[in-house]
Each structure stands twice: as structure tokens, then as C-alpha cells.
Point group: C2
Chain length 407, copies 2
């Protein structure tokens, strides 16, 4: 590979210095910045507080990619490019040819190599640990044979022994803790030089920033931040998306159901609402997020459909495929004819009978997917130099960590 | 007065039924809906929980007026119209003729009568209680001589005896509690039929939804909601604006200072940044909100200034005077040549040396003023009928409470 920086590695048009010390990027799923602010305020993050007090921290805010869902953002972070380049535009898309709804968990859907794969090919010991297994194959795509890549959800006995934890429940804070514990163990054993640790937002979907459940999660994270820091690792903490309440004051979900008004205006079968948040793990958010894409049988209906959608309470923005592809840097062939974004306190649904809202009876809906969940932390346990004076993105995390740490 | 509804009173083109039972509108300053959701979730609002459980509550969400500041919204709620009609476009404006910065606390600046004044003139016993004194004269403007209108901040001995509380500190939760206690006492004594109670956001500027300080405030509110409900009052709870964190994850304020880049681009003295959040009570937010208006010496510089402003990190939206007047229903003569709105997690400042940021050292900045603080509760202790199928506003509170309660 060619490169403009000595001993650096080029991936997707960007250059990354080979890590001169252990380097860890944490993608804390659903980490609205206020989770950390409030946990610090409550005294629940003493290790981070100490790092801040000694002036060792750089705290920035960057924009996640739209839609603010897990897969597109994790892939942007590990490729350094937006979904227009890497191809993963959601958790899910509609294959127009077959009419089938396709999960975007398969490596063959990925259109760009990851910087993790390139680093591993260049001989850097790389480890990737994810909470849920769905991300494992995408993030691990192209890693050299000596690399480490596994999920907490499907950890084998050897990996459980490494983490010192038994197999956690897929719906638990423990699933994320397993990721951190295993990462610390790999670093301590000298088995990895570049680590990508990606958690799940089980807690963030349930608990608002500063509440006891959230503070307990961030206190747990803080213990591992302290361990990683003590082991001499440079750390970047970012997120795939933020998180907001999606309810009225009494806690009832605010849902704009899009299929019925489209059917009423265009006729049944003319428009198909796809919610790219949908995945096999929907228990904690009822498949309700703040982003939808609409496939039309007849593209000539786009203007009429857009007008119907804009009139729905809770809808913030309706874009054509081309507008959405340009504004959000999305691959046009993996989104529908229209893209719909909900207001901060609202989500989008297909039709009421297609969502299981029972889980929302006890816990008020908190979710993501829209523009209101785009701002996420870019937090480093090092002072940075020459931070680019442009809009920062969560997918700048590796470049900032590898190229911009002050000597 | 003429009216289309029997025994109703017309004000600013809207009709309000004379209250058939005691009616109370609560404007809870800075009441982001999630404050109530999280307090309910924590078990801190048992009275409201009981009302919800017996199906007696209508919970809606409405939009506050822009800018999402105290004065414009309180005046919209009591006049039923946007600032374009009532004239109060902020807490503050620049008088172009004199160059003086004018507080919008003076009744002569009000361009529309309040429905409270009209009700009092029609013989309805009206009471208005505000936390801070700055709102008292505006809200009390035109009330008939028998009406009650006072502030907690400047309550006299008789008013303190009524509330059963001593004079509270202006920076305290007690200032708002005084408002509720006095309102309950007036209702119990049969001295008012229509009440408007308006609090201060001292707690909301400090505490995130669901945190102990916030839950303590809402537990206090809940006790008074229970008392008002037990006294047979119909209640509408709304807010002047929501509230958001305005910091990075480490709690540092995210401020776009607008004066230096304007001076650099246009020359000194060409542009003047006015922050209409500014008022004598700035201790809890350092005069930093998410809305600014720019006065230009030469209006021909508008396009150049707008380009400079759009390039500032943290700026979400820049509108011309005419665009802002149309989109936000603002009086053009009380805003500058440009209007600037900040992103959800950012605020706008003039120049660093003109803000006292010392108060933000201990508590992370939480503030308002932008589009991200526009959604507020519209919560009623009654079932409503025939709720209009249009965008609801906080200034629909009186109409919904007086005209739409189910018999």
C-alpha cells in the first residue's frame, strides 16, 4: 500500500499511523453525550474524573451517520467512510428485484475494506469484540488469520475464561461488560495492539441519562476505562448514535404510522414502508425508530407520497432518494424512493398491528434513528494536536486516535 | 363582546367558554416532557400516576413558540396567539432608533390583550401568580381591579401568609413551590375561578430529567397537582419551553461565539449580536441560549453575515428577518436582520469576555431557546373531546381546558 505518512496504512483514501502503543476504540451503543456528563456529575465515573482533573482528556462531539442506527455507524467507524462508500445503509433493506427484505449483516454487502482488516494484513495484532453476534461478521470481514474476533453473545468457553465471566444474557448490561472485560484481558495478555470494542444499547433504551440504571452502566464502563488507561492504552470513546425519549410526558409512545395514510392516498400495495431499525433483536424498542424509507411501486407517485408523509404529526423531514443520498451520504440503491425522519420525540411505524407495543407498557420508549440522535462523544484519554477544523464525525475516531495524539 | 359559543368570551380572534368549574393553567418553566416521564417512572409522582390509572388524564405534546424563551411563551399562552400578534419576541430587543437594548418586560410593549384580562372584565375571578417578578406586569396587564396578581419573588406579608410560606430565595425550587401553594390557597378560599400559575426553571437548568434534584421538584409539583385535583379544579399543565444539555460528554459548554467572526468578516461595529435570553436573572445559565438575532449597520451585508454564521460549528439554522418572521410567527420590528438557531447540544454567545462562565464550572450547562426545546407537555386532568387535528401549540392550553373538556 502507498501512504503519505511514514509507516502509515492507507484505507479508503485515508491514512492511519501504525499504533505506537496499544490503541482502543470503544463504540458505546446509544451513548448520548449526557449519559457521561450526568454519570460524572453523580460521581459514578471517578476514573474518568481523575483523567479530566489531570488534563489528560480531549472531549469533542462528532456527528454519527444517518440513519442513526447500529450497523451503518459501526461500519463507518471501522472503514472511516460514510454508507455511500461502505454500502451498509441500515440494519435492513428491500431487494427490489426479489421483493425480499434483506438483513444487512452479511459481509458480501460490504463495499469497502475495513481499516481493521488492513491493519491486520500489515501485521498489527487486531482484536474485535462485539456485544451482539449480528455485527461480528461485518466487523471481522477481511481480518488476517491471526486476528481475534468474537461476540459476547456467542462467546465460547475459552473466551468466557478470558473475560472471567460466564455467557451473559443477550438482553443485559452484562453483555456489554463482557466486551470490556475481554478487551482488558486481551490487552493485559499482550494479545492485541489495536482493539475495537462495540457494545449494545440495552441499558440506553431503558434508562435516561443520570438515572440509577444508566449511572450503574457508566460506573461499570468507568472501571474498565481505568483499567485500559492503567495498561497504557490510548482510548477513543465514541458511539453509533445518541438516544432520546420518544414519548409524551405521561410516557405513551409517540408513533407516526406511515402505511395506513399511504395506502389510503395511493391504494394498497403501492407503497411499502421499511424500517431499517428492524432486526432480530427488537425486544427493547418494538422496532420503532425515527427513520423510515419508502419503496413505491410507481416512482411517479413520489411527490404525492411525500405530501402525505409530511402531513403526518411527528414527521420532521421527507426527502427523495437522491436528496437523501446526497445529504446523508447514503447508497441510493439501498434506500427506497423516499426517506422519512421523525421529530426528536417521535418514532415511525408501519401499521399498528405490525408492532408489539406490549414491552412499552412498563418502560417508556427511548429510541434513535433521526437527526436528533446524530451528536455523539469523541472522547480521548490523550491530548490531541491539529484536530481538523471541520465537521467531525464518529468515523474520525481511528484517525484522531492514531494520527493526532500529542507526543 | 361578540361570540360564536354561548356565554363565551372572544379574545384575539379565539373564543373561550366561561369556566364552569375552577380552571388552572400551569406553565412549568423549562418542562421538557421527559421530566414528568422520568419522575413518574421513579415513583415520584403518585398523584399523577393515580389520575393516569383511572383514565382521567389527556396527555398531548404541543409546540412552544420560537424563540423558546420565557417571556414570548408566557405571553402566547395568556393571549392565545404567537409573538407576531402579541409583540413580545424575546426577553429583550434592540431599539434601532436609540441603539438601546430594551427588556421586554413592559406592558406598553404588549400588542394584544390577554384572555385573563378579558375574563376578569367579564366578571370571572382571575388570579395570576408568577415565580419571578419580571413577568408579573406583562401577565397582569389589563386585569380588572378585583383580580389577583403577584409574584413569589416580591410577595408581601399577606401573600406569604396565604401561601403559608416565607419569602423564598429567587434562585430556588422554593420560588416555584410558593406559586403552587398560593394557588391552592386561593382556590381553597374560593377567591379565584381561573388561575394562571407560572414557575421558574431554576431546577430544570441544573438537573436532568430523572435525576434526584429533578424528581424532588416534580414530587413537590405532584403534591400540589393532587391538591388542585382534590379541590375539583380542571388543570392544564404546559411549559414555556423544554430543556437540553448544552455540553460535550465531559460537561464543557459548547458555545458558538458569534461576534468575533462577524467582526472579522464585516469589520467592527457592523454587526451586533443580541441574545434575547439575556435578562437580570442569568446566574443559572450564563446568558447562553440557543437563539440569537443579529442587527446589521448595513442590511446589504445580510448575505455575507449569514454565510459567516452558517460556517460556525454549533449553528443549525440562519434565517433572514423575513424568513424568521414568517416561519416562527415573530414581529419583524422586534428581531434583527438575521436570526440564528443553535443545534440541540450547543448555545450561542456574543464574545467570550462578555459571558460569566464561572457558574458553569460546577454544573454542566443546560439551556433552551432553539427548535430542540420546542416540544412541551399539554397534560390535562380531564378527558378531552374534539381535540383539533392540527399542530398543537402550548398557547392552545386555555382553549383546550375551557372548551374541550368532556362532560
Amino acid at each position: 500500500m502507498t501512504s503519505s505518512i511514514p509507516d502509515s496504512i492507507a484505507v479508503n483514501g485515508r491514512f492511519y499511523q501504525r499504533p505506537s502503543e496499544p490503541a482502543v476504540v470503544l463504540c458505546i451503543d446509544g451513548c448520548e453525550p449526557d449519559y457521561i456528563t450526568q454519570a460524572l456529575q453523580a460521581g459514578a465515573m471517578p476514573k474518568l474524573q481523575q483523567m479530566l482533573a489531570r488534563g489528560a482528556v480531549t472531549s469533542l462531539v462528532g456527528d454519527a451517520v444517518m440513519p442513526t442506527f447500529t450497523n451503518p455507524n459501526n461500519l463507518s467507524i471501522v472503514t472511516g467512510v460514510p454508507p455511500a462508500v461502505h454500502g451498509i445503509a441500515g440494519n435492513y433493506y428491500l431487494d427490489r428485484a426479489s421483493g425480499a427484505e434483506v438483513m444487512m449483516n452479511e459481509p458480501e454487502l460490504l463495499r469497502a475494506p475495513t481499516l481493521l482488516a488492513a491493519m491486520s494484513e500489515a501485521g498489527v495484532p487486531v482484536a474485535v469484540i462485539t456485544a451482539k453476534d449480528k455485527l461480528r461478521r461485518l466487523l471481522g470481514h477481511g481480518l488476517s488469520s491471526g486476528s481475534i474476533c468474537f461476540s459476547a453473545e456467542k462467546a465460547d468457553e475459552q473466551q468466557q475464561a478470558l473475560a472471567g465471566l460466564s455467557l451473559p444474557d443477550v438482553y443485559s448490561a452484562a453483555l456489554s461488560e463482557f466486551v470490556f472485560a475481554a478487551g482488558v484481558a486481551l490487552l493485559r495478555a499482550g494479545r492485541a495492539r489495536l482493539l475495537y470494542l462495540s457494545t449494545t444499547d440495552y441499558v440506553q433504551h431503558k434508562c435516561a441519562p443520570g438515572t440509577p440504571g444508566a449511572n450503574a452502566f457508566y460506573a461499570m464502563l468507568d472501571r474498565y476505562l481505568g483499567e485500559l488507561d492503567a495498561l497504557g492504552a490510548r482510548i477513543a470513546l465514541t458511539a453509533d448514535h445518541g438516544m432520546n425519549a420518544k414519548t409524551d410526558a405521561a410516557g405513551a409512545p409517540r408513533i407516526a404510522f406511515l402505511q395506513p395514510p399511504l395506502d389510503a392516498a395511493l391504494g394498497e400495495g403501492e407503497a411499502r414502508v421499511i424500517l431499517p431499525i428492524t432486526d432480530p433483536y427488537v425486544v427493547h424498542h418494538g422496532a420503532l425508530g425515527s427513520f423510515a424509507t419508502i419503496y413505491l411501486a410507481d416512482p411517479a407517485h413520489a411527490a404525492a407520497a411525500a405530501a402525505v408523509l409530511r402531513a403526518q404529526p411527528g414527521v420532521e423531514l421527507v426527502l427523495t432518494q437522491q436528496q437523501a443520498a446526497e445529504r446523508f451520504e447514503l447508497p441510493p440503491d439501498r434506500i427506497g424512493d423516499l426517506v422519512v425522519v421523525a421529530e426528536r420525540l417521535a418514532v415511525l411505524g408501519t401499521a399498528p398491528e405490525r408492532h408489539d407495543l406490549a414491552a412499552l407498557q412498563d418502560l417508556p420508549l427511548r429510541s434513535h434513528g433521526g437527526l436528533s440522535e446524530q451528536q455523539v462523544p469523541l472522547l480521548f484519554n490523550r491530548r490531541l494536536r491539529d484536530v481538523p477544523q471541520r465537521r467531525l464525525r464518529n468515523f474520525d475516531a481511528f484517525e484522531l486516535l492514531l494520527n493526532h495524539v500529542r507526543a
